[in-house]
Symmetry: C2
Subunit: 320 residues, 2 copies
């Protein structure tokens, strides 16, 4: 059967739902954004989204030009096509979003979580093209992951595999509380939020002067830390080193699972470039088991941040 | 093409090389054991083994009745069919054992490491029959692992994936040295050897009376600990609890990778049964991410210890 020229990608975030129509060469040829909240029911959300999609679908020549749709969503389950108990969305319980879009659009629709979508995006369009074994790490509010083994996403027995952000890196009594209710998860240290927590903690316990002290604590963001570090702020530089060191140590442990050919990092904190990646690589090399030394590349995503999530979701559509 | 009725399994250990001829129902119909050391070269080892195999091959009706051969060996690499830099074998460097047996026997031969062979054995003949996602944990001198995702062994980019024994469980300054040259690996705590280290450490720092104190330290084995625990020895019981607790916590972390439907435990320490498995299950339930709670079974291998390694290796032969 002939392939149609486009897929739709939906990056479903807590605030915005960004739709893109994507061609086979990773060009987002048309896009539209809908607020995720405020539709009442999930049914109404899907109806409103499809209404907003109409003009851009017409723009590319109508629904017959579209192969399928892929959705990347928090707590997305690939097996069921549902979003399940997502704390940042306003629909309770299990919402069969893939099926709901499928029925309205008359297209096959696949859904997975955002980090898995990012991994598929890298494999289809990005730096992981041609790789059969790699680990995607997304750094944002949380630390997400998508694991590819033998060319396939690892979904596990329930569709929820690949939560590396919740591997415990600190088992000490002062380990940080994580949003999951447990303590010491790598997410509580190395996500964008984790970096801010490190900054607040260190500003409290140290006297080192820092431009970060000029920012109200409630407004401090990870990007302030990397900007300050790039301008030579000592404390900020040490936070980058610490974050990178923990991330490198964690990745060294992850290598024991699947001996990947690469770790691909994505998200705001990676914009710091080598300020983050140098300590990551150093700690990885120092901590990885001798078997794996020098085998995995530790690289930053090659996809444009603004459209990467949409591209990732759309790539799922090409698999249908 | 018609399947032949038998496969040969070779469990290649540091001391003994045990060959078994196995039928499709997991019966070891004939077997022979050869000392692993003392042959000089690997070529001579293979020649001597094939000589020892002749009578048992004749016993089942000759080489035409045999489909293939599978080898489970320390540091075995499935991709290359080689044993690579195995510290406990007397052949240096990279030894292409699969190819060497293939040439002498005229049979297809596959090779993997012992823990992967155990995983394939459980999947073919044991408690993991029909499972697509599970983690095999072998407890012996080391802590080995074989990981199955989507029904396939995880080999990674280099054939060496699945070294969960070298995930770091203790990052503190008093973390134990591991045989791999690093510190704090789970293997240094939860293998049979690790249990003995715990016993020695605790006998030094505590005054608790224990029947373990009657055993010369150089002779103390993990089985002494489980026997003492089963007879009510308090210190021994606490060592079982501690070992199980660390193992359960480690498995809770492993779930984040591949959300397995089961963890299958194999090896000497599992003979303690619930004395080990109860603390493992308790710690797993208390530490696993909420997503995965109640999903994975934590079970002991169903294969007979004496023949399990041979069965595991032989199962690899059925895949050829």
């Amino acid at each position: 059967m002939e392939r149609k020229p486009y897929v739709i990608g939906l990056d479903l975030g807590g605030t915005n739902s960004v739709f893109g129509i994507v061609d086979g060469k990773a060009n987002v040829v048309a896009s539209v954004s809908v607020k995720t909240k405020g539709h009442g029911t999930a049914e109404q959300y899907v109806a409103d989204c499809c209404e907003a999609l109409k003009p851009i679908i017409e723009q590319v020549g109508g629904i017959d030009k579209i192969q399928a749709m892929g959705i990347g969503a928090p707590n997305g389950n690939y097996y069921s096509g549902s979003v399940e108990n997502a704390p940042n969305l306003e629909w309770p319980g299990i919402v069969p979003l893939a099926k709901m879009f499928e029925e309205r659009l008359g297209l096959p629709v696949a859904l997975t979580n955002d980090a898995n979508a990012a991994a598929i995006g890298e494999m289809t369009y990005g730096v992981a093209k041609g790789m059969k074994n790699f680990i995607m790490i997304t750094l944002g509010t949380g630390l997400g992951s998508g694991i590819v083994v033998n060319g396939q996403l690892v979904y596990g027995c329930d569709g929820f595999a690949g939560e590396l952000g919740h591997v415990v890196i600190d088992r000490g009594e002062h380990a940080r509380e994580c949003g999951c209710g447990r303590k010491g998860c790598i997410e509580a240290y190395c996500s964008a939020t984790g970096m801010v927590r490190t900054a607040l903690e260190w500003m409290a316990i140290r006297n080192t002067p820092s431009t970060l002290r000029d920012i109200p604590t409630g407004e401090l963001e990870a990007k302030d830390i990397s900007i300050a570090a790039s301008q030579g702020d000592k404390l900020a530089k040490e936070i980058m080193d610490y974050t990178g060191e923990l991330l490198g140590k964690a990745c060294a442990d992850f290598a024991n699972f699947c001996s990947p050919e690469a770790f691909v990092f994505f998200g705001g904190p990676t914009k710091a470039g080598d300020l983050l990646m140098e300590p990551v690589r150093k700690a990885y090399d120092e901590n990885v088991l001798f078997n794996y030394k020098g085998k995995a590349k530790l690289i930053i995503s090659g996809l444009d941040g603004a459209s990467a999530a949409v591209l990732g979701a759309s790539a799922l559509g090409w698999e249908l």
